[in-house]
């Protein structure tokens, strides 16, 4: 099997939380392969394990059992700082809300990751402005997050996720705090990015409208994959 074709592979992946004496199984025996350039939506009722799965794939958390690999690297065998390094260079994140560093302007937020990666300031500025233009925020580069609408903030987060050309972008309910119209335009943006840059997107949602944008819809229930359909 060509690993490069499958940026993400999960084998018998399990995650359980310990709460006092009770063990809560959040994910049970997940087997999954994500194709390069895919646009995957995870859906399912609350508590079904969407966030847990995205966190494991993103290297934000470590599994209790099973294997998980990203670009042929075993995440379950990495230590904290290796995971941090992997997140920095290979994964872009868009969270539900309050994604941005409040004291930095839109452009500086986008530059932040590039700065961590060690790019020089001239290249950072050029790339940041170009990507902000691409997500439709031209002219708002100097605004702080507090002076941007929720939708605009999520666009900045998308710009920040895309700018360093990661293997994978993870978005946990990116539209949860947006009205349906704004949510739709954000999804259109993500879709365009996926088409034009060929970046693999994994996102979760409760929203039927958002699910409709996906190329592949994976439904979770009680920590297991209930269905996996390519649309």
């Amino acid at each position: 099997m060509n690993m490069k074709q499958f940026p993400v592979i999960c084998r018998h992946l399990g995650k359980s939380y310990q709460q006092g004496k009770i063990t809560i199984p959040a994910l049970v025996d997940i087997n999954l392969e994500i194709h390069k350039g895919d646009f995957v939506c995870f859906s399912g009722p609350s508590g079904s394990g969407k966030t847990t799965l995205l966190n494991l794939i993103g290297g934000l958390d470590t599994p209790s059992s099973g294997e998980i690999s990203l670009d042929a690297q075993r995440l379950d065998k990495m230590n904290k700082s290796a995971l941090a390094n992997l997140r920095l260079h290979k994964i872009g994140f868009v969270f539900q809300a309050y994604n941005l560093i409040p004291v930095l302007s839109a452009q500086e937020n986008v530059e932040f990751v590039m700065q961590l990666q060690g790019l020089n300031s001239a290249r950072r500025a050029i790339k940041a402005r170009a990507i902000l233009k691409e997500v439709g925020l031209e002219g708002l580069e100097k605004r702080r997050p507090g002076d941007l609408s929720g939708g605009q903030q999520q666009r900045v987060a998308v710009a920040r996720a895309i700018v360093s050309a990661p293997s994978l972008i993870l978005a946990d309910e990116p539209t949860a705090n947006l009205d349906s119209h704004t949510a739709e335009t954000l999804m259109q943006l993500l879709h365009t990015m996926n088409e034009e840059h060929g970046i693999t997107f994994l996102f979760s949602t409760h929203d039927k409208l958002v699910m409709d944008y996906s190329k592949r819809l994976i439904k979770l229930r009680d920590g297991r994959i209930q269905s996996d359909e390519t649309q």
Binding site: I101, L104, R160
Partner: protein, 408 residues
């Protein structure tokens, strides 16, 4: 680096009032410490200086053991020649030769035991404030003159005034009786009770005749140009005194009470300063912790993006540093201005004359303008706030991105 600095600076001004209060607290403590420490050091300088100027001098050459037991026979032979030799040393203001005895002093009505000093007229005035403190009459006129000056308290006790004769009775170098009748030419007031009550001065040559001392004396009293460079001067003095029966003693040995007084005062004030520093430190710790805890989610996002916990720790330390430097800067300017003002105009408070009388005639204190006195307080505050900043910075290491992002 640029972004971390920008981040730190803007984070400080996220809560302008809170940061302003913290800066104000640091500035206040720093200003207060600058002022109090410079004033304290200044007052020590003056107490030492004034006290030593009355009689003790910065250092003395004596016969070994003379300090503990001032025996008439523990002399320095050819004392004035040696003094002449020592005056050549660079950094010395002057050297005065003194002879010292205990004797009975009698007026027509009363008799008191006193300390008699034989002094070199020309040199005594540069080393001792007594010649300048004559209240009535005049200072001694000539090394060979047969005359006497006494303190005002003693004059009252003896019921005498300028012009009256006093009878001096003691025992001379060779064990013979030393006796003289001398007229009072001046009455002095130093403000120090034991001196005004128990000390008289007569010219050195007259003393040597009365007490059969020949060319000998008991003390060489010296004053250095700068008390801070006393040690280098003393090394040169010691080199010029080959006689092993003589010792060179600095003011600290001559007047241990003075040093202890200063030490006791120092401990007192440092207790107070420590309280001030601790209060400021804890209020800052509280602010810093709040500032970090309320940003847990933000740190979570930064960690998720791949920021190293160490970098976030650095960010917090940088914020602490900026806040502290701002506070210290303002505090130094304010404290420095106040200090400079009192340096020019002098500082005094009610009741100070009393203290002055006890320890040597200060009615105004001039703060000490030294880098050390200026920077001591702010430096201590700096170290404490940086230690305080270390605590929240280290807490970050335990933060996990997933948990951090759950908090809002």
């Amino acid at each position: 680096m640029a972004i971390i600095l920008r981040l730190a600076w803007r984070n400080i001004w996220r809560h302008p009032r809170r940061s302003g209060l913290t800066i104000a607290a640091i500035a206040f403590a720093a200003a207060l410490l600058v002022f109090m420490i410079t004033l304290q050091f200044g007052s020590y300088d003056m107490i030492i200086d004034n006290n030593l100027k009355v009689l003790t001098g910065h250092f003395q050459v004596q016969h070994l053991g003379y300090l503990e037991k001032p025996k008439m026979r523990s002399t320095i032979t050819d004392a004035q020649k040696m003094a002449e030799e020592l005056r050549k040393i660079n950094g010395i203001v002057d050297i005065a030769t003194r002879a010292n005895a205990f004797a009975l002093l009698a007026s027509e009505k009363r008799t008191y035991g006193v300390q008699v000093l034989g002094v070199e007229i020309m040199h005594e005035a540069k080393l001792s404030t007594i010649p300048g403190r004559i209240q009535s009459g005049r200072f001694l006129s000539d090394d060979t003159a047969q005359e006497i000056i006494i303190g005002d308290a003693l004059a009252r006790n003896l019921k005498v005034q300028v012009g009256d004769d006093l009878t001096l009775l003691g025992s001379g170098y060779d064990g013979s009786i030393a006796a003289a009748v001398l007229p009072i030419v001046g009455i002095f007031n130093t403000g120090m009770p034991e001196i005004d009550r128990g000390l008289i001065e007569i010219p050195l040559t007259s003393f040597q005749e009365i007490f059969s001392l020949e060319e000998s004396a008991h003390l060489l009293v010296g004053m250095a140009k700068n008390l801070d460079h006393l040690e280098t001067v003393l090394t040169q003095v010691r080199a010029k005194i080959p006689d092993s029966s003589l010792v060179v003693l600095d003011w600290n040995h001559l007047n241990p009470g003075l040093f202890q007084l200063i030490q006791a005062d120092m401990i007192n004030s440092w207790f107070m300063y420590s309280c001030l520093i601790l209060i400021v430190t804890f209020s800052i710790l509280n602010t810093f912790l709040m500032a970090v805890l309320e940003r847990t989610r933000e740190f979570g996002v930064m960690l998720a993006l791949g920021t190293k916990p160490l970098s976030i720790g650095q960010l917090i330390m940088l914020e602490t540093l900026l806040l502290t430097l701002l506070g210290l800067g303002i505090g130094l300017v304010i404290g420095g201005s106040v200090t400079l003002y009192f340096y020019v105009y002098g500082f005094s408070y009610p009741g100070m004359e009393e203290i002055g009388a006890q320890f040597g005639l200060i009615d105004v204190i001039t703060p000490q303008l030294s880098l050390f006195a200026f920077m001591l307080g702010p430096t201590i505050i700096f170290f404490f706030t940086m230690i305080v900043g270390l605590y929240p910075a280290l807490r970050i290491r335990k933060l996990k991105p997933v948990d951090a992002m759950k908090s809002v």
